[in-house]
Subunit: 108 residues, 2 copies
């Protein structure tokens, strides 16, 4: 099956979600998402999403040179990002319940 299509438009939400508590860098965000159950998420998708959110002004970023490996580009959610997160969450919930409704009718 193709779970990748289901991520469309939702990966933004998921990334914002895992960043809400603590700042994170790309590789770390990937791990958090997978730990959260999104096992199939591609790393390139996450890096791309981070850049998109950053360009959209929802994240700030700062580089931390690591002494044990390559540098890490940390991303931090700002107010715009939080607003977007709240908004997207509502959109998601509404959409999910609508679809569940359609599926329920079928089962009945």
């Amino acid at each position: 099956m193709d779970t990748s299509q289901l991520l469309k438009g939702v990966l933004d939400l998921a990334v914002l979600a895992v960043l809400r508590k603590d700042d994170g860098y790309g590789y770390d965000v990937v791990r958090r998402l997978r730990a959260g159950g999104l096992n199939d998420v591609g790393d390139a998708s996450v890096y791309g999403t981070l850049r998109r959110l950053y360009n959209a002004g929802m994240l700030t970023s700062y580089v931390v040179p690591s002494e044990e490996g390559p540098h890490r580009k940390y991303y931090s959610i700002n107010e715009t990002g939080r607003a977007r997160l709240a908004e997207s969450r509502e959109t998601w919930r509404s959409f999910a319940s609508t679809l569940d409704g359609l599926l329920e009718e079928v089962a009945a």
Copy 2:
């Protein structure tokens, strides 16, 4: 906001769902989906999805010439389609609860 991306990979499921009870033609399926809450679904999307599902062997079709308007191309779900519906529904439920989980963690 952009609800259209959320439909990705789910419109198939929704279309199969509304066809499960009764056969339907394109224009009618659009109405059923909108009545079910998917207000923003585009008609071209539905027609395209119907054709895709048909080509994938999940629907059969027959034309009914209407005496009051253009002909209607009815689509009927078959066994393959039903199997796909059940499968996709499970995929959806699993995915949705995973994402809800990620959002819950955030709220906590």
